[in-house]
Amino acid sequence: MTTPTTPVKPSASSWLLVAIAWTLVGIPLAWGIYRTLQTAVKIF
């Protein structure tokens, strides 16, 4: 199987998927960073 190799710009709708995917991993990560910051501020 061969696939066209000419660079093709990602479609506009794909950026919506990108935003959803990053939100799905970003929310737990942001929660984790927030919880860590809550602990970390105790040093100051």
Partner: protein, 481 residues
């Protein structure tokens, strides 16, 4: 099912957005990153029988700590052993295997806790889970490097940042679950293991099914490879079987081992270290840690935990920052900074402790931890530069044995030296000084290992025929890059 996981099936179509691949990798790395947060289970597990306090037959924290050691050792071993397999079958199958191992490992450990069998606990998260760590860790590396030829460091840095951040999510989540499940007859850990195992299994499957490979000859729109490349960046490819026979592989092995040993030692002792070095100064009262009483000790311990948390933030920030920076300044100069600046900072830490400057002391270790994380995140791009991209995942897997060694060497060295110093009458506040100088010495070794890295010898690269055969075995098109 096998077809669903096949490498041919995940070749992206035209117009696929490459920015979908890093979150897939992050889903896996954030899950397996909980390996760094396992210590949250040790205290409750140390009273699994006694419930409110340790009883006869309860496990010691030091015994439980072996679970982490097994995990890191098996991470390196499985990455080394299965790296070549991963290159052939593709990242999706490897990601699914990692999900079964890591999620399944939690279930086996849950059974181990339920029947109170330490061997099952070690087997679950330590050995089976450790294999999941290795497979999951290397699964996105070569894929990301192929999708981001223009930003190799940044791309792998994003994924490996997730491994550093996993414990930030997993530790507080585990605490919430333990408190939720705790009853008068259970400390709530086996139930937490089952829940976390299920969550990680699903998250990792989502990540694995999000992986896509670029089509043959793919390159980003508007990007052309630089016509003139540095001698340390090759367009050719070294076979994994050849790579580990080159001096460059072992130089980078030493680079990673020294950088990780020093950093992992600090991570392990961060909380007790700041408490013992500054004692009452942390809360504005005179006296060493041993002179403090009740509530004062509690306040100092809270600050110690805050210091450890602060370091973990800088650890993950460094993974993204340094790996991205290496795309602009080059990998070798990036490691020069790690080792030169790191040596100075480790050597300066005892003085900061001696003059009682908490902010300076904390600042030094925050910078050190960015470079610890940066060392992990930049190494895949360094390997791709030197050995090419064809087998970079497998070569990275073999290099991770350096992490296994460092995972044992760093903590053992730091703990042994501390005990030795204390045993010879050195005050607790000064017990870390010699350790810091030794860690600085290890970075000097890393500095010279990095200095000695030269381009791979011509005879080590695959010929066109060998490369074509490798690509056939890897189910790639003839023109794949």
């Amino acid at each position: 099912m096998a077809g669903l996981l096949a490498k041919e099936r995940i070749i992206a179509g035209p117009g696929f957005n490459r920015w979908l691949v890093p979150p897939a990798a992050l889903a896996i790395h954030l899950s397996i990153g909980m390996a760094y947060g396992l210590s949250v289970f040790w205290l409750p597990l140390s009273r699994a029988i006694g419930i409110t306090q340790p009883a006869p037959g309860d496990w010691k924290v030091s015994t439980l700590g072996w679970t982490f050691t097994f995990g890191i050792v098996f991470l390196g071993l499985s990455a080394a052993v299965f790296g070549r397999w991963l290159e052939r079958v593709g990242p999706r199958k490897a990601g699914v295997a990692a999900a079964f191992c890591w999620g399944g490992g939690f279930l086996i450990s849950a059974l181990g806790v339920y029947v109170h069998n330490i061997a099952l606990l070690w087997l679950g998260i330590g050995i089976v889970g450790g294999c999941g760590l290795g497979l999951g860790y290397i699964s996105p590396v070569s894929t990301l490097i192929k999708w981001f030829p223009d930003k190799r460091g940044m791309a792998t840095g994003m994924a490996i940042m997730g491994f550093g951040g996993g414990a930030m999510i997993g530790s507080p989540l585990a605490n919430l679950l333990i408190n939720h499940y705790a009853t008068p007859t259970s400390v709530g850990v086996w139930e937490t293991f089952v829940t976390l195992g299920a969550i990680y299994f699903v998250a990792m499957l989502c990540g694995a099914f999000g992986y896509r490979l670029p089509p043959p000859d793919w390159k980003p729109v508007g990007w052309t490879p630089p016509a003139v490349q540095s001698g340390l960046i090759t367009k050719r490819h070294v076979h994994v079987g050849q790579a580990w026979r080159t001096p460059q592989f072992w130089q980078l092995w030493v680079v990673l081992c020294m950088n990780v040993s020093a950093g992992i030692g600090v991570i392990n002792m961060a909380s007790p270290m700041i408490q013992e070095v500054f004692g009452g100064k942390l809360i504005g009262v005179a006296g060493a840690l041993k002179d403090l009483v009740g509530d004062q000790r509690l306040q100092v311990a809270t600050i110690g935990a805050g210091f450890a948390a602060l370091l973990s933030l800088f650890n993950i920030a460094g993974r993204f920052f340094w790996a991205s920076l290496s795309d602009y300044i080059g990998r070798k100069p990036t490691y020069f900074i790690f080792f030169a600046l790191g040596t100075v900072l480790y050597a300066a830490a005892p003085s900061a402790g001696k003059i009682g400057n908490v902010a300076l002391f904390a600042g030094i270790f925050c910078i050190i931890l960015t470079m610890y994380g940066g060392g992990f995140a930049t190494i895949p791009a360094y390997l791709a530069d030197l050995f090419g991209t064809q087998h970079v995942g497998a070569i990275h897997g073999r290099l991770l044995t350096a992490w296994s060694v460092a995972g044992v060497l760093g903590p053992v060295l730091v703990n042994y030296l501390r005990e030795y110093q204390l045993g010879h009458g050195v005050p607790a506040a000064s017990a870390y000084n010699t350790t810091m100088y030794i860690l600085a010495g290890m970075l000097v070794v890393g500095f010279f290992a990095n200095l000695s890295v030269k381009p791979v010898a011509e005879g080590r690269y695959m010929t066109d025929a060998e490369l074509a055969e490798e690509r056939r075995l890897a189910h790639e098109g003839a023109g794949a890059r």
